[in-house]
Symmetry: C2
Subunit: 330 residues, 2 copies
């Protein structure tokens, strides 16, 4: 999947080069199958790897020679523009944070991803990095998510919504209320929409949906589960009678187009935003196509200097914040 | 919708009687259209009503003669077995809590409802009554939700899962970890499954899903939004070409059966669990069929003595709890 994904990604991005970390004896034969990868991959051998069952703390302490850690080190050392991994999410998050360090002004990096919506695609964060968040965390997520949407979705001034349990100003916990107050008063390259609810995610009401890692993870996985439920029900419906089977055959091209549209492989890639380096998680259970999407995401973030954009936005925000604090003090 | 729903519900439940609170001049002509409701409805006139825009606190203070308040009073006075309303959720919640009072041992009542799953139906709570919850709240939700599943779904020992961001014991916030520890050690008429994730809701991994009102509301509305997204995509797919339109015509009966299965009208009704009285919220935008479902829910809860069951389970739980505390003290 990694080698195949790299080959696909290389077809799309002519100057792309790879350093692959892992067991050379396993990687080299796979590479020989892809002519397009000749001369653009260097392999760094290591026989250590982070297991899917390793705890993040364990991986951090004992995993200094693992393929994951060495790949992240390559980003920190400037050898690589970004790291893409399909491995243990918690370990990738912990190691990326430890090695690449949070950006100035960002208290907590967040896990950010895309979702299919009625209007196209939206960006949501945090998808699970931070179980509990305060108002400042949420404001930083909004700034980072908007910079990500400008970079990857090409939207000059993306709309940002704060996920809440009701649109009324009075509802919600202290963190979302506080974040809304700050975002309403700030001058930033985004349009703050206010609160959104769970059904607004799939509607695509805003380009960016900001929430804490608990709700964000619940929402993401609930969407996945509901999509699976719907697909299963649909499959059962189509296989119910001869008529419905014939109907399925006729409607098949259209249904395939629908499947293509909501295909998770085209929305693959969770990005750790807020670090001094690009780190992308490819979801488990992906194939070449999915992994190539995650690589493409890393390429776009490097090419469009996402980190530079976030740095500039954070500076603008804190200048404004300090000016406001001075104004209040006077 | 209310009168039509009552007529449908009366067809299903032969001994059902209604007290309808509201504008007599509007209700009486509607009643005359339904022979089945003759002699089983008494109308209590009031020209005051809670508006959808009223704040709960406002409704509580100023709404003592509203149809909603009078209907809840009828439950407290023993005149009615339960109240069903399609009105302002926050007001219904606040008034029900104020008038009916929380049950002994229940710190916070919760909003509970059904969801369609791959396996049938599951129960989820809290769907939005309590934005922040501690471990004791979650344990009480588990006990109430299990009693509800026994009553309404007829499951002798329902499985209960705690919604979390990962199945590993280490993940999640303090409240879910604490609740898991208590539920693991308790003797209750339920099987505690442990943690579940967002995708487990639609899979139907457990009969009952317990979470705080913020995540629960997000999950519920995310499911609704995703189902709508899927339906819209499907509609577009079927109208794409002549072939797909013909395919749709042939598969139509099967697709209608699917639609029936996930029809929100059959899962209608949010129940406030944990009060000394039955109070059911019918979702907005329902028709006769949906409102009849909500009435049916109230009927079942009264007939099966849900409140008695919760009382017994809470007593068993606190006996056990006290025994454990004594054991620890010795």
């Amino acid at each position: 999947m990694v080698v195949g994904g790299a080959a696909l990604a290389r077809e799309r991005h002519a100057n792309l080069r790879f350093i692959m970390f892992g067991d050379e004896a396993k990687i080299t034969p796979l590479l020989s199958r892809h002519r397009i990868l000749r001369d653009v991959v260097s392999v760094r051998h290591t026989d250590q790897q982070v297991k899917s069952t390793d705890r993040p703390s364990q991986a951090l302490r004992q995993g200094r020679q693992t393929s994951m850690r060495l790949a992240i080190n390559a980003v920190a050392d400037g050898e690589a523009g970004g790291v893409v991994s399909a491995g243990n999410t918690g370990a990738l998050m912990a190691m990326s944070k430890f090695v690449l360090k949070p950006m100035k002004g960002i208290d907590r990096p967040a896990l950010c991803g895309f979702l299919p919506t009625l209007r196209g695609e939206s960006v949501m964060l945090d998808l699970g990095a931070n179980v509990e968040c305060d108002e400042d965390n949420l404001v930083q997520f909004a700034i980072m998510g908007a910079a990500f949407a400008r970079t990857i979705l090409g939207l000059p001034r993306p709309t940002v919504g704060l996920l809440n349990v009701g649109e009324e100003e009075l509802k919600g916990n202290e963190a979302v209320k506080g974040a809304a107050a700050i975002l309403n008063g700030a001058t930033l390259p985004l349009r703050f929409h206010g609160f959104v609810e769970g059904d607004d995610i799939a509607k695509g009401t805003t380009d960016v949906v900001v929430t804490d890692g608990f709700s964000g993870n619940v929402a993401l996985k609930t969407m996945e589960g509901t999509a699976t439920l719907f697909s299963q029900f649909l499959r059962r419906a189509f296989s119910q009678s001869l008529m419905s089977k014939v109907g399925y055959m006729l409607a098949r091209p259209a249904i395939m187009a629908l499947r293509e549209r909501i295909d998770p492989r085209h929305h693959n890639g969770g990005v750790f935003l807020g670090l001094n380096g690009i780190s992308v998680k490819s979801h488990g259970g992906m194939d070449d196509v999915g992994f190539a999407t995650a690589i493409g995401l890393a390429v776009d973030m490097v090419a469009d200097d996402l980190i530079g954009r976030i740095t500039a936005d954070m500076a603008q925000f804190s200048d404004h914040d300090e000016a406001r604090d001075r104004a209040v003090a006077q």
